[in-house]
Symmetry: C2
Subunit: 285 residues, 2 copies
Amino acid sequence: METLIRFSTDELGLEAFKPKSRSIDNLPRISSSTEQLFALCGIESRQNLNSSIHKFLHVRIKAGRHIYLSNDKCEMIYLVYSGFLKSTWADTNGNEKVLSFPMKGEMVGLDGIAHGKFANSLKALTDSELIAIPLQFCKGQNIESEIFRNHMISVMSQQLVNEQKSSFIISSLPVDAKVAKFLLSLSFKFKSLGYSEKSFLLRMSREEIGSYLGVSLETVSRTISGLCTIGVLKKNNRSIEIMNFDALKKLKRLPMGVTYKATVRSKKARNPKAHRAVEPEKPPT
Amino acid sequence: METLIRFSTDELGLEAFKPKSRSIDNLPRISSSTEQLFALCGIESRQNLNSSIHKFLHVRIKAGRHIYLSNDKCEMIYLVYSGFLKSTWADTNGNEKVLSFPMKGEMVGLDGIAHGKFANSLKALTDSELIAIPLQFCKGQNIESEIFRNHMISVMSQQLVNEQKSSFIISSLPVDAKVAKFLLSLSFKFKSLGYSEKSFLLRMSREEIGSYLGVSLETVSRTISGLCTIGVLKKNNRSIEIMNFDALKKLKRLPMGVTYKATVRSKKARNPKAHRAVEPEKPPT
DNA sequence: CGCATAGTTGAGGAGACTCAATGGGCGTGG
DNA sequence: CCACGCCCATTGAGTCTCCTCAACTATGCG
């Protein structure tokens, strides 16, 4: 997460508010060297690598298409090079849940390693480009493989923690806080990638947000509208502008319905709507 | 999960219904060899290992005590040798959420690898014994370390998937189904370990179950009581007997509140309490 | 220029939460 | 050995959040 590096930042990633234009210097590569791969991963290596041995192919994928589906054989894992993705899991009844929205620099497909086939599906929300990393490489005995493997272990560990965090959010916070946290985490990611943390475009539908957060799409819509009403946000369809970070951050740590062992259960919680929103802060005018 | 092996099954694990008695042949070891470690992990290796090089110390821990706390330095990961544990995560406000209930054969502490300190806390629900695996060993260059590392990667991948599954359960299913799934997964685990899948003792409180499932403790209690009423379960405090596996399994796949893109939203859902329980099946008399 | 998809908003209801009181088990101490 | 107290579990009553259904609007695409 923090290991994301500012690597040719403007390359792609968010073409944010100028969709579909692609200037000539933004042309994607066909393949990356080990060094390039490592740089994008955020691996700092003091070893002198034999950069020419391995070439990692880039995979381009159109918006709306799947990179892989659940149960597909897993022979590669991927590093997001550009674009916005969506990872989902489906139960046996075909009910889908969105698990994450991978962006540039993130590794995807790690769920496929255990059994040699993917547990999740991965879909492109925008035209995207991924670097394919053969499992073979991950398992290799050479120095590059070993360095990468160590990194991979670290990433998996981190992903585990992230899953747990979002599990907490999903199960313990009221909608307002869920949405606030979601927007803040997006904002943080954008910032890490060198884009505006203040205004950005949601690449996913309300329904997808809802699925991710474990609430209905209407509730997501209402919550975002509510945040606009109290002046914390401005929205225009999928474009979001954060007007008041502090309020949003405060919101995210407000009481909860379901919390286990709430240390001191705030008596203010009795006051209806106490956690519904931050103090309107003297609504603008 | 499926890789759990039947390794000296009766050793400890569940002393189930005869608490606090410990027969002489149940005495825990002080340390394990690589082979023993691998066996408990479920690693099958055709290589001839130098079993005597590494010794893995066992850590014994009393019920109610912590093995590690969030932010503790992570120098070891652990393999559960016996007993029942609880892993929790706490946000900055001190609100805890239960993440898992590790049992024999499960690896814990993998969340600590990324940053060298644990993200979660681990507590013993019963007297337990863990095998400590130094990170040093995990990172080693010898053949034993490499085999173990591969296994560890696989385990992490699997844990990632499991997290995602339970995230789905938490966010998408009604309480009844949550509890049903929970009990079934416990039952399955017990069976894997060679114990009764039909009747067992819950080692955790209603509150802990609630935290794990993202519902209140009262709701857990009510749901379990409800399952008893319709004859699917028998309970006596923390001891559970499953009377009707099919009903429980059916229950777990019933409609849901929050489902994202429910393929065909069953119209029966309009019927109040449609998912409240399975058909009472002509309640016993 | 409509049709389809996505988003908004309202009304009403159901599930699950909170608060509160009761009862059972178990350990401790008189 | 019983009594007391503590913790956990159960159950009830009332309420609130969030869901569902539904109608309407905006946006984008052919």
